[in-house]
Structure formats: structure tokens, C-alpha cells
């Protein structure tokens, strides 16, 4: 026991030391860019960017996020949720064709990216409710 615990700690430190800075910067994991985009995006049948952005802000507030910044031109909204842990999210809204809006979200939990498609599914389900529109598969 006396040796076991330090040994575990050292192994853990070594393991986490394996990811290089570049990998951390690029967040290069097992998934392809396309996979990531597909679960992080949905399209909505509306051409009204402002409506989608305002609904996004409302949804984030409903979820307990404090809005950090928003930009109408860029179509982006960022927010932070603090509840013992920290969740940060950025949502971008941009036109797709002339009659649809593409919404994309990426989030992090403490110092980890959120890569679970289920979490994004939940987010878009919440957004659907405040938009009164159904979300379609993105990209």
C-alpha cells in the first residue's frame, strides 16, 4: 500500500503527460472533424437569425448559464455555468441557404471538452422547445 499509491499517481501523471501541447491545442482526438460537427450542429427551418439567437440566449439562461458575450453579426453567444463545476459553451448561428439556420455548439466541462453527443442532443432539445421549431441533423 505504501508504494502502491505513489506508483498509481506517477503512472497517472505519465499517462496524462502523453498528450502533447499541440494535441491539446488542436483537441485532436479519435473523432474526425466531420463527426464532431455532425453531433454539435442542427439546422432549423427559419431564416430569422435574430429569433434563433434570442432563443439560444433564453435557452442558455434557462439552463442556468450566465451569458458572457453575444454578437449579432457573427451570430455567436457564449455562456458560463458555475455550480461547483464550470461549464462553458459557445453557440454560433449562421444562415444555411436562404431559408434555414445552422446552429452549432461546443462546450467544455472544467478542463475537458464535452464530447458526449447525448449532451448536445439535450441542448438542442431544450433549444427546440424555446424556438418552437424542430431541429434537423446538421452539416
Amino acid at each position: 500500500m505504501k508504494i502502491l499509491l505513489p506508483a498509481i499517481l506517477v503512472t497517472l501523471a505519465l499517462l496524462s503527460g502523453c498528450a502533447t501541447t499541440n494535441q491539446r491545442v488542436l483537441d485532436a482526438g479519435d473523432e474526425t472533424q466531420l463527426q464532431k460537427r455532425s453531433y454539435q450542429s442542427r439546422t432549423f427551418e427559419t431564416a430569422n437569425k435574430e429569433k434563433v439567437l434570442r432563443a439560444t440566449i433564453t435557452t442558455l439562461q434557462d439552463l442556468g448559464f450566465v451569458i458572457d458575450r453575444a454578437d449579432m453579426l457573427l451570430g455567436s453567444v457564449s455562456g458560463t455555468k458555475l455550480d461547483g463545476h464550470q461549464v462553458k459553451i459557445t453557440v454560433s448561428v449562421r444562415p444555411k441557404g436562404s431559408d434555414r439556420m445552422l446552429v452549432r455548439a461546443n462546450a467544455q466541462f472544467n478542463v475537458e471538452p464535452i464530447n458526449d453527443p447525448k449532451q448536445y442532443q439535450n441542448f438542442f432539445a431544450s433549444l427546440e422547445k424555446s424556438l418552437f421549431l424542430s431541429a434537423n441533423a446538421g452539416e
Binding site: L63, G64, I67, G84, Q119, F123
Partner: protein, 176 residues
């Protein structure tokens, strides 16, 4: 003792997974929405935002970001966070020989305020009826430089805040 602390740290690190309903609107969160929102009639969105900015300044907040096209304001301030109860507890622990206990030192208080138009029965945005929704967070730094953070949800805080907004709206409407 040290071993125990290490083990504790490991266990905590293992527990830190994304909570199941991080992105689900629960009934508790809907209740929070009621608490955080007020409706104001008879004012244009721009005037309501200006009135709100004034309230935040009254409260000593520094404006961080704003996007008036979306009715979003964010602001923050740094303040002292020591409180008598915690200091007393720390002294008590020290007297009992428990060593020095970390107490709250200072805090960053963040606020975001969002104004959005009320929709009429046809789903169109009204030009002179709006919802104001405000949310507060604070990040507290303890005397040992550790931090903890929380979202504020006390009824009194929001009542007091919206009383100030109402006053400010009145002043704005009278152009005082």
C-alpha cells in the same frame, strides 16, 4: 493524513464527469426563471437597456460586454468576501488546535442581463413590452488561494434588484 488527502484528490478527480442533465431544463430551473424575470411595459427596448445599464452602474458594476441588437449586457465587479461567521468559525477551529482554516477573502461577482421582447398572441415581438432577465454568479477566493463558485438564487436579491430597475425605468420614462 497525507495519504488520505491524496486518495481524496484521486476520488474527486474520478467523480468529475459532466452531470447528466447539464443541458436539460428541469422544473427547478424553470422556477429559477420566474425568480430572475420581470416584465416591463411602455418602454422601448433601447430605453430599457439604458435604464438597466444605469442600475448596474448604481450597483458599482463595470460593464464588460454588450450587444444591444440582442439585448445582452454583461458586467462584473470585485469585492471583499470576508464574513463574520466564517472568521469566527476559523478562530474557533484554531483555538481547538485545528490549525488555520481557509476563509473567504475576495470575490468576483458577475452579472448578465438580457432584455427580450414579449411576443403577442400572434407570436410577433411587441415593441413596448419586454422581459428583463438577470443572472448573478460569484467566484470566491479563499485565504489559501483556492476558489469556489456559485450561481446566486436568493429571492430577496432579485426583489431588491428589480425594485431598483423599476425606479430607474421610472426615471428613464420621465427623462430625469
Amino acid at each position: 493524513m497525507r495519504k488520505l488527502a491524496l486518495l481524496g484528490a484521486l476520488v474527486i478527480a474520478g467523480c468529475a464527469t459532466v452531470p447528466e442533465n447539464t443541458f436539460v431544463v428541469t422544473p427547478e430551473l424553470l422556477q429559477q426563471r420566474q425568480l430572475e424575470t420581470r416584465r416591463y411595459d411602455g418602454l422601448k427596448e433601447q430605453d430599457l437597456i439604458v435604464a438597466s445599464t444605469n442600475v448596474l452602474q448604481d450597483m458599482g458594476f463595470n460593464l464588460e460586454n454588450s450587444e444591444t441588437k440582442l439585448g445582452v449586457l454583461t458586467a462584473s465587479k470585485q469585492r471583499d468576501a470576508t464574513n463574520a461567521g466564517e472568521v469566527a468559525a476559523a478562530i474557533f477551529v484554531a483555538l481547538l488546535g485545528g490549525g488555520s482554516m481557509a476563509i473567504s477573502k475576495d470575490q468576483t461577482i458577475r452579472v448578465s442581463l438580457v432584455v427580450r421582447p414579449v411576443n403577442d398572441s400572434n407570436g410577433h415581438a411587441m415593441s413596448d413590452s419586454h422581459f428583463v432577465r438577470v443572472t448573478f454568479q460569484r467566484i470566491v477566493r479563499r485565504s489559501d488561494n483556492s476558489t469556489y463558485s456559485e450561481t446566486l438564487n436568493e429571492l430577496e436579491l432579485f426583489q431588491d434588484f428589480y425594485e431598483r430597475v423599476s425606479k430607474s425605468v421610472f426615471l428613464e420614462a420621465q427623462k430625469i
